[in-house]
């Protein structure tokens, strides 16, 4: 049993509690316990904080890591934004002693010191590297045969390439492999690696532009015959799901394309019920999708 401190972030617990639930439940199948992370704050959001004051962003993120260092646990998370904040901070402070000293002098005011003893992992990376595609495949009770999945990796998961652990930022395959392990088909679509439009403060600052971007993505996915969008980030999830409602109001385009976090898709394949996975919280009805696979 490997224990991680489960860093929830803000959007999953507030908007899509099903993401948290499905992550915890599906991980248990692989002997992974996602534990309550006591005292954790906002990551804080890389776009909103990082663009204003990089040192404040680093210090707040480092505080979260320090909490986990005290417990001697690695951190696991299910959000690309949290991943950018915590993984990148961990990486930079480990690599750059000067920066670490600077951040530590801020943390000292609150009685913390960054040691660099723990890892920050995205759950999708844990599933691919530690659990492995084969084990994921073995856990499937309900193969998702015939399901066309449009995968959305999300920007912060892969970029900047130098500060990440994945080989390719343009043509990655690990997420696709994990989706196909469930019996579904990962379809190729135009501009697959394009941003959802939510991050970097764009959604808060210029909603029309943000919606225009996600509209293009949804159009491309639909054109390629997608039955469902699968992501690994609650903020992308929100943009892709709730965004459809806003697009309908603003531009009149209707997609009704269900959106799932990978943990939820995995849960369905592992035979969990829609209630267990909290699918009712989604704006776009997931029912037609369930009818197709169950």
């Amino acid at each position: 049993m490997k224990e991680y401190n489960f860093f929830l972030g803000c959007i999953a617990p507030n908007r899509y509690p099903g993401i948290e639930a499905s992550a915890v439940k599906t991980s248990r199948e692989f002997g992974i316990e996602l534990c309550d992370f006591k005292g954790a704050s906002c990551c804080p959001a890389p776009g909103a904080f990082g663009s204003m004051d990089i040192n404040a962003w680093l210090a707040l993120a480092a505080r979260n890591i320090c909490l986990s260092e005290k417990e001697g646990k690695d951190i696991a998370l299910v959000c690309n934004g949290c991943y950018k904040s915590l993984f990148e901070t961990n990486y930079r402070l480990k690599e750059n002693p000067e920066l670490r000293e600077k951040v530590n002098s801020v943390l000292a005011n609150a009685g913390y010191e960054f040691q660099g003893t723990q890892e920050v992992r995205h759950l999708i990376d844990v599933l691919h590297k530690d659990v492995g595609v084969e084990k994921v495949k073995e856990s499937v009770e309900v193969p998702l045969t015939g399901l066309n999945v449009a995968i959305h990796y999300g920007c912060h998961l892969l970029r900047p390439k130098v500060e990440r652990i994945f080989d390719s930022s343009e043509r990655p395959v690990f997420f696709d492999e994990l989706v196909e392990a469930l019996g579904a088909k990962s379809i190729d679509y135009k501009e697959k690696m394009m941003c959802c439009g939510a991050g970097g403060g764009v959604r808060s600052y210029k909603i029309d532009l943000a919606l225009d971007m996600v509209n293009e993505k949804l159009y491309n996915m639909t054109q390629a015959g997608a039955d469902v969008v699968v992501n690994v980030c609650p903020f992308c999830h929100l943009q892709l799901d709730r965004g459809q409602l806003e697009i309908k109001e603003k531009f009149g385009d209707v997609y009704d394309l269900p959106v799932l976090h990978y943990s939820q898709l995995l849960g369905i394949a592992q035979g969990m019920s829609p209630e267990e996975l909290g699918l009712s919280a989604h704006v776009i009805d997931v029912e037609p999708l369930l009818a197709k696979v169950l």
Binding site: V162, S169, E170, R171, D188, K190, E191
Partner: protein, 659 residues
Amino acid sequence: MDQEKRIGVFVCHCGTNIAGVVNIPEIVEYTKTLPNVAFADAYTYVCSTPGQEMIINAIKEQNLNGVVVAACSPRLHEPTFRRATERGGVNQFLFSMANIREQNTWVHMEMPEEATRKAKDLIRMEVARASKLEPLEAKVVPVEKAALVIGAGIAGIQASLDLAASGIKTYLVEKEPSIGGNMSRLDKTFPTLDCSQCILTPKMVDVERSENIELMTYSEVEDVSGYIGNFDVTIRQKSRYIYEDKCNGCGKCQEVCPVSRPNEFDLGLQPRKAAYVPFPQAVPLKFTIDMDSCIKCDLCKADDACGELEAIDFDKPDEIVNVKVGTIIVATGFDMYDVERKEEWGYKVYDNVVTGLEFERLIGASGPTGGKVIRPSDGKQPKSVGFVLCAGSRDQDEEDGAKPYCSRVCCMYSLKHAHQLIEKIPGCVPYLFYMDIRSFGKAYEEFYYRIQDEGGKFIRGRVAKITEDPITKNLIVTAEDTLLGEIMEMEMDMVVLASAVVPTESTQKIKKLLTLSNSPDGWLLEAHPKLNPMSTTTDGVFLAGMCQGPRDIPDVVAHAGAAAAAASIPIHRGSVTLEPIYAIVDEERCGGCATCIGMCPYGATELTHVDSKLIAHVNEAKCKGCGTCGSACPSGAIKMQHFTNEQIMSEIEAFAQGW
């Protein structure tokens, strides 16, 4: 030896380079107070003829037996002042130089007082050293009247032809089955648009016919030992499994060979057989059997194929050849940057994204399509073609192995490609995505104007990404047009990536064999970037062409000619003078421990038996005088001539005296 030392010190103004910063009269007065200084004076340019006369006259009038010049770097004028010292009647090695320009006034120009003090320190140190210098005699060694050229692209071919024409026996070694290099892959050459093969082939034929050139294709240099004038070279002639003297180039073996595999010469764009010549104009026109893909079916040996010629022998071994040469020219050329690593452009993912060199084969008359430009995906003629310039050049993305330098040929060959498209396909529009168009050569800018007039479209901006329409296989190119300040997206039938040029892998091997260096960009390092771009820091080894840095054909040919001229000088002189700045072993003190053997970066030290005692010996010609062995020797048996312990210690003591 113990005669009274009388040293003359000459302080150079170097115009205002030195005099503009430090107080020259103060330095001269100070110098006069130093021990052993019999004479001190300053002059505007000591390196000038009157400056040198001043040294010569002072030696005679003041009866000097040592000279110090405080001026620029010894790399610049040490030979000048040594000659003046010699002309004054004093052994040239009793001269020493204080660098008060590069190492003082140029770097401390804002601090005149401190710089004046530092100049005094430097002069005091050189005077102390000059007091301990010993007269030395230069050594003369004979030079073998032959040269080696490694690599037979246009650079190696030109260098060999020039050497041969001046009467020097030249061994031209090429690792591929044919000479010609990358130039033989090109269709036309910019800006004159003459056919590359047509201007290259006569030179290739000349190489084959030249009495003075011994051509060794499909061969590699395995080992080099020795030194300028006397290099011993070991060459492996890889087996073609065909006897060159028996093969008449009829090609019947190729006709019957059932094996098909991608032809490296065409970058895999068309097949070749296991028995093959890389291209029809190959020199020598001798077939090669690629044993890695040969299935030994023996069809090529049958009566209707090679038959009675009996040229084919599957058991023919490699041959090792040893040659002795006086000088060596390295002409190992370039490779293309692996542009697949720039994932955003989708090379090797999208069918219709090709590299510039592949496009040369596609548009070349001898290429897989006979010069008809077609899209790899469906064989249709493209009507719009995007050219991504600086694909991997002028790019600081180290993660993807991109190069910060300009590759110098891509702008011009892309312009040429644009012209060829317009000429060959009516209505076809080439779009060139560029940062700057660098049309720097003779008639190059005019060529750029011409392509503009012909209808080439130029978009100043780097291509951010290329995506593919999965059905039409058309490419969607996204870039920022930085002149309009707008993001633009265009659909193209085809995209050509003008990939950067990079040093070849084999250059690394040659670099080690010849103890050469490379500059931080990976290209081989020249002796001086401006005034000696064809020589290296290894005496007798010269550079020709791209192995030293990106350049186009005219520059390669000029560089190769210069390398040939430089490489022929020692051979025509018949002898070379070696600096006596080498290590010598005190045989009495040497214990034969071999510490120095492993230390020497030049392989100049070896153990020998003297009267049954094992002692170290330094090969004077190979020794560069770095002093590593001397400082490592546990018994202090190695003396570095001209940089003895005593001389260096005296400098250090003199330095300490000022503080």
